[in-house]
């Protein structure tokens, strides 16, 4: 891996194909980068005088990939420290406080082409804490952290049931969540309480709720709670979502899908396709360390193999995630004004034989493939 050099003031990248995601594919175009931002995306291969040129005329360029749900950089060991299970409800916890940008797994992940990730607590707390959106590289915190607090993570999973603290049952889990949301709603401002403030912003101020729900009944419960409290919500996992896809689509709830390679039966591999076909906005995730960040692109590729439209798959890796995470002004496509987060790849991004050759974040080269 090449150590990040000082960002050149001006940088031009010429590419055989530029997958802008929002404006189609540009053949033999040039991207002009200035001060870490995309200044221009040109449809002609001509490069202005005096600019440092990266010539990838025989390669493809795509936006940096966005992993919409993972736990990278949060651990000291192979198992992450992502659950604070002593208390069931910890909305005041901010996952960004556990993030180590110099962690081994973060550095290793740069070769995957993922440049931005949503960090979240795990599934063991019904109300787990605040998510964050970070880049895998940044000279300063400002460069690296896109959202210090992006939303509140909720879990409707069985993992959230414990035998030594509340809740111990599914019905108890839902009663607890309703209790907390009700308390937040009726809370009087005279008594400052950080925990309730956070939940209040979820019920009153559209602060996003990221809800982990995999099975049909979990998703249905999530949809009911979302409707009841008028939440601005995103489903995480939604593995069986295809069975009630119309309901999810009707409530306009986007889905951050589980890693596709966690499944091996054809029936399960097609679920994400069915959901996308029903009009649900899908973003891909790795759930690292459950699967490595390099599998993010493989998830999209596998979905394509089982019928997902290629364009939708590409969006699921980039702009969809950016929009769901609320960072589309900065990342998610190759457009003028956005951050210069780019991946140079040896071929079509949705072919499994394509290799990530170079990764650029904020105009800095953070990874360059070594020949074997």
């Amino acid at each position: 891996m090449v150590r990040a050099a000082d960002a050149p003031q001006h940088l031009a990248i010429r590419a055989g194909r530029i997958w802008t995601v929002t404006d189609g594919v540009i053949k033999d175009g040039v991207i002009i980068i200035k001060n870490g931002k995309i200044q221009a995306v040109r449809k002609k291969p001509d490069v202005p005088e005096g600019m440092k040129l990266l010539d990838f005329s025989d390669r493809d360029v795509m936006p940096g990939l966005i992993d919409a749900h993972c736990h990278i950089g949060l651990s000291l060991d192979i198992y992450s420290e992502i659950d604070e299970t002593v208390l069931a409800v910890t909305p005041d916890m901010q996952i960004i406080d556990a993030f180590n940008p110099l962690a081994d797994d973060v550095k290793k992940a740069l070769s995957s082409g993922v440049t931005t990730v949503l960090l979240a607590p795990g599934n063991k707390n019904p109300v787990a804490g605040q998510t964050a959106v970070v880049k895998l590289y940044g000279k300063t915190t400002k460069d690296r952290v896109l959202k210090r607090s992006g939303g509140v993570k909720f879990s409707l999973r069985d993992d959230a049931l414990m035998s030594d603290r509340r809740p111990t049952s599914r019905a108890g889990l839902l009663a607890l969540i309703r209790e907390e949301l009700n308390n937040a709603k009726t809370h009087k401002d005279d008594k400052p309480d950080l925990r309730i403030e956070v939940l209040k912003s979820v019920v009153d101020a559209n602060f996003p709720a990221y809800i982990s729900a995999y099975t049909v009944d979990e998703i249905a419960s999530a949809l009911t709670v979302i409707d009841e409290y008028g939440l601005n919500a995103v489903l995480i996992g939604a593995e069986e979502g295809d069975e009630i896809a119309q309901l999810i689509a009707k409530q306009n709830i986007p889905v951050i899908y589980s890693p596709v390679l966690l499944f091996s039966r054809d029936k399960d591999l097609k679920r994400v396709v069915k959901m996308a076909d029903s009009g649900i906005k899908i973003a891909f995730s790795s759930k690292s360390p459950r699967t490595p960040l390099s599998s993010l692109r493989t998830s999209a590729i596998t979905a394509v193999k089982y019928g997902l439209d290629k364009e939708v798959a590409l969006k699921g890796l980039t702009i969809n995630a950016a929009q769901i995470l609320g960072v589309a002004k900065r990342v998610g496509s190759i457009q003028r004004g956005k951050d210069a987060d780019l991946v140079i790849i040896s071929g079509d991004p949705l072919q499994p034989t394509s290799t990530v050759e170079m990764v650029i974040i904020n105009g800095n080269i953070v990874y360059q493939r070594q020949k074997i």
Binding site: S264, P289, S294, S346, P352, I372
Partner: protein, 445 residues
């Protein structure tokens, strides 16, 4: 049939009956000839694996074997023609690290040495997932006992021919004996525990060596006894009345099935396939092979890329898998230094490298092509990648005389695709095993 009727009932057969009888005769001869009919596949691109690809060639199949393959093949008069003019044909794929046909719980006994266990006894031919795997072009799998047993038992190579008779599925029983060292349970791995693995295996092999020597001695003594007995009996029936001692029968040698298997390993009759992940474990296993002289296959070999020279020097073949840790459940300690370029690095250093899916369940074998494509994306030559899921595993597992490439004399196990195999858009159109169509996309709805 018609003649028979004619003879039986000497009645005038009217027009209607003649037509009916003719149709019956035609059908009869048609079905007979269909069964033993030669098949010719005309293909846009034939990927033989063993040689260069053939453009616009023909494969001729007779009695389930490849009779001819090339650009100009003379076709017999009566042949069933399969038109794959714009398609790709390649040998049926092989997943050398499969869990198909065995229920997960049945893959492992305890952490012990049980070489006599045979995976064939755990095969359930009624498991339905194999159809999804077949539909992705996999025609053969090697299934072995799991990673918990130090020496877990014998593996087998099976064909996905849809037979409900296990014996008819088995291409090769006792393909290898599976062992595993340094595999952790959960998140911890004790160094002391690992040392124990090696000492147990070494102990077992030493004991097998002694057993082998004692058995050979007992065989010799038995042969000697039989010779003397025959002499004695001959003399007995003769005229001479010499007082001759009746030879004493040697003590019966009690055989031990586990030891018998270990002896076959020591005699290099069956390879020992050892799952090893970390550099220390791989090196230890190489040393074991040096010490006892058995044929070694390195399985998984996660950190093999760090000591590729050592492995290459000893000419030990490797089955690499999983290509990505997304194929396994929660990555354990031994996958910490997993590198997707493992196969590429080993291959470039001259190590004979096959790829396996090594997935979380039986149906995962369907991802073998994806695994090969990912290995190719990470430095493995594309041709080498295709070879790593066909001919190379066949060679390593000792079934290359039958499968693994499209060559004259081998089984007609092949896949017809509508595009290059490693392209994600390509679909498997037809799969054949021994000349029989076992999957046809057209009839799947």
């Amino acid at each position: 049939m018609g003649f028979y009727l004619f003879m039986e009932n000497p009645v005038v057969i009217g027009h209607k009956n003649i037509i009916l009888i003719s149709i019956l005769i035609l059908l009869f001869t048609f079905t007979i000839s269909f069964a033993s009919q030669d098949i010719a596949i005309k293909a846009g691109s034939i990927i033989t694996i063993s040689d260069n690809p053939i453009e616009n060639g023909i494969i001729l199949i007779k009695n389930g074997k490849i009779e001819a393959v090339g650009e100009n093949v003379v076709l017999p008069a009566d042949v069933r023609l399969i038109d794959a003019n714009d398609k790709f044909v390649m040998p049926g794929l092989i997943d050398a690290q499969s869990r198909l046909f065995v229920m997960d719980r049945e893959l492992n006994e305890g952490r012990t040495i049980e070489p006599e266990l045979n995976i064939v006894d755990a095969i359930d031919p009624f498991i339905k997932e194999y159809r999804e795997v077949l539909a992705q072009g996999v025609t053969a799998v090697c299934v072995a006992p799991g990673s918990r047993g130090l020496i877990g038992g014998r593996s087998a190579v099976l064909k996905l021919n849809g037979s409900k008779n296990v014996n008819k599925m088995v291409l090769k029983a006792d393909a290898t004996v599976k062992a595993a060292v340094g595999v952790s349970t959960g998140n911890t791995s004790s160094s002391l525990a690992r040392l124990e693995h090696y000492s147990s295996i070494r102990e077992a092999l030493i004991a097998a060596k002694l057993y082998m020597q004692r058995k050979e001695k007992a065989d010799r003594e038995m042969a000697e006894y039989n010779r003397k007995k025959a002499e004695y009996e001959k003399k007995e029936s003769g005229k001479e009345t010499e007082k001759k001692e009746k030879p004493k029968r040697p003590a019966k040698f009690r055989t031990n099935p586990g030891s018998d298997v270990l002896v076959r390993i020591l005699r290099k009759e069956i390879p020992l396939q050892v799952e090893a992940h970390r550099v220390t474990d791989i090196i230890n296993v190489l040393r074991l092979a040096d010490e006892f002289g058995f044929t070694l296959i390195l399985d998984k070999c996660t950190e093999g890329y760090l000591i590729a020279d050592e492995i290459a020097r000893r000419k030990v073949p490797v089955i690499v898998g999983p290509v990505s840790t997304s194929f396994v459940d929660i990555p354990r300690l031994e996958y910490r230094n997993h590198n997707m370029s493992n196969a590429a690095i080993l291959s470039k250093k001259g190590v004979k490298t096959a790829l396996g899916v090594s997935g979380r369940d039986g149906a995962s074998s369907k991802f073998i092509t994806l695994a090969a494509a990912m290995a190719a994306a990470n430095g493995l030559d594309k041709d080498a990648a295709l070879r790593a899921i066909t001919l190379t595993p066949a060679e390593i597992l000792g079934v290359a005389d039958r499968i693994g490439s499209l060559q004259v004399g081998k089984d007609a196990d092949l896949v017809i695709l509508n595009g290059p195999p490693l392209d994600i858009r390509s679909r498997v159109e037809m799969v054949m095993i021994e000349g029989k169509v076992v999957f046809d996309r057209k009839s799947q709805r």
